[in-house]
Amino acid sequence: MERDGSMTDSVVMRASDLENWSTGAPDGARVRNAPAGDIEVVDLNAWFGNHRALRDVNLSINGRAVTAIIGPSGCGKSTLVRCLNRMHEEVRGARVEGKVLFDGRDIYAPDVDPVEIRRRIGMVFQRPNPFPTMSVLDNAVAGLKLVGGLSRSELRERGEWALRAAGLWEEVKDRLHEPGARLSGGQQQRLCIARALAVEPEVLLMDEPASALDPASTLRIEELVQELKERYTVVIVTHNMQQAARVSDWTLFMLYGEVVEFGPTSKLFTRPDDQRTEDYVTGRFG
């Protein structure tokens, strides 16, 4: 594999990307020469105490594409994405078995630091959760600032880059020092996306990112997802089938903690292989 070589390239490219963004390059797709960001899930099982939330999940998520996970409430879609960046284990009594290979390496191997994994696989949650003590700019660069090592001007540059990437810059450029919690709900969610992007992850996991937002904000987030897939692997959990159909390239349908069907979104919504998938996407249950 030529991955090692391209990894070095990607660092160079990212640095120049940063320059372009900060010098006011227009919002839009900039293809980053990054590793593929493929995720391979092998025999994954997850528990909350005695409740088995995932059953033998096997799955290949393609890099630089949007994968949607759909299914009725409680089917394990959130648990699945939370297993992809080792957030599941943060819940008391939660447990995981199986493998998740990220660019070929098992993120559950004993020598892997979950902190490192979460840096490379970012996450956006259902409810916008900006840090209430921080300003808009500080929120955007929180993942960098709290670790230290970057100067004020570097942070400001990275913050502007991330806010532009999240499509929020034009709306907040004059209120960077206001508390992040003072933005509207939709803006707060894009601030959270900016915060996740600022640490330059390779994958972005989104757990129902628009379900707490109004239709206009939802549309804005969906457009953003389309832009982001040029540079990131995006996995989006949604209970909204139209949203899955609009934004994703691949769709995974889950039921009772199991994968029912996984395939190209157009196929899954028009010619599904499984009767249960057809019943769900045509609104016969769920």
């Binding site: 840090f131 003590t133 670790v147 992850p201």
Partner: protein, 291 residues
């Protein structure tokens, strides 16, 4: 809006029932007023008796010998400042770290045990804490001291701070912890840079309340600091404190000292009041932030 009783008076509500309602309302108001009475009386008394003692000398001079009018209790103010400074330096880091441990890391038996200890200390009579520190520190050092007094106060303030910090940190939504962890921040960084600042003014409130509690304690200081008629700035020597001075002078047969005791009471009351009110204002703000 609740309609006025007269507007919707239904034939079903009897005269007797209305009278019972009024009587109950009046009774509740009266109880409220009675509860306020002691506080008002304390203020009136303390200010009435002690205001005369408050002058520049009171805050800047040592006491005069009996029979010589005037003088002050500056040694008590300096002593209280020194004892409280040391007590804060010991109890705040200890209390906050234990509270953080209980709220963020503590699981199972060890945490239960720590919480149990804090609970017991919280209800320990303060004179017992004083006696304990006398036996352990004063006897070992061979002298009464401000350090011993501050250790006795730490025994009282530590559990207050621990329990309060734990409660306040539990109010911080888990969303924020998850957001921090999902950014690839280490757990300790999330706690110190996200969770604790979010609970910031709440923790400050807890510190204020603990200080207010410690400042007024008399028994544990009596057995550890002893008291001193002169200014002492050596933390390893017997030291005076405002509550001690009130205790000594209130029981003194010398009438001129009674006024000084009342003066001490005013300053102590004022200091505790300022701390409590600040704590209230801050905790109000904190609630607004979390919700």
């Amino acid at each position: 809006m609740i309609p006025a009783a007269g507007v919707v008076r239904s034939p079903g509500v009897s005269r007797a029932r209305r009278i019972r309602d009024r009587a109950f309302t009046a009774g509740v108001w009266a109880c409220g007023a009675i509860a306020l009475l002691p506080l008002m009386l304390i203020f009136a008394f303390v200010i009435g008796k002690g205001a005369a003692a408050l002058n520049l000398d009171f805050f800047t001079k040592e006491p005069n010998p009996p029979g010589v009018p005037g003088g002050g209790i500056v040694q008590a103010f300096i002593g209280t400042g020194m004892i409280m400074g040391l007590a804060i330096a010991f109890s705040v880091p200890l209390g906050l770290l234990t509270g953080i441990y209980l709220a963020e890391y503590g699981r199972g038996r060890t945490a239960g045990f720590v919480r149990f200890i804090a609970e017991i200390l919280l209800s320990t009579p303060s004179i017992v804490a004083g006696a304990f520190v006398w036996a352990v520190v004063v006897v070992a050092m061979g002298t009464f001291s401000a350090i011993a007094a501050s250790i006795a106060l730490t025994v009282l303030m530590w559990p207050i701070l621990t329990r309060a910090t734990e409660e306040i940190l539990r109010l911080v939504p888990d969303d924020l912890r998850e957001a921090g962890l999902a950014l690839g921040l280490a757990r300790w960084r999330v706690i110190l840079r996200v969770v604790v600042p979010t609970a910031g003014s709440g923790i400050f409130t807890a510190i204020m309340l603990a200080v207010a509690r410690g400042m007024g304690e008399t028994a544990p200081i009596l057995l550890t600091a002893l008291g001193n008629d002169f200014v002492n700035t050596n933390p390893g020597a017997p030291t005076d404190a405002v509550p001690l001075r009130i205790y000594f002078y209130a029981g003194s047969p010398v009438v001129q000292f009674h006024a000084l005791a009342w003066g001490g009471a005013i300053t102590l009351l004022a200091a505790v009041l300022v701390l409590s009110i600040t704590a209230r204002v801050l905790s109000h703000r904190q609630l607004k932030r979390v919700h």
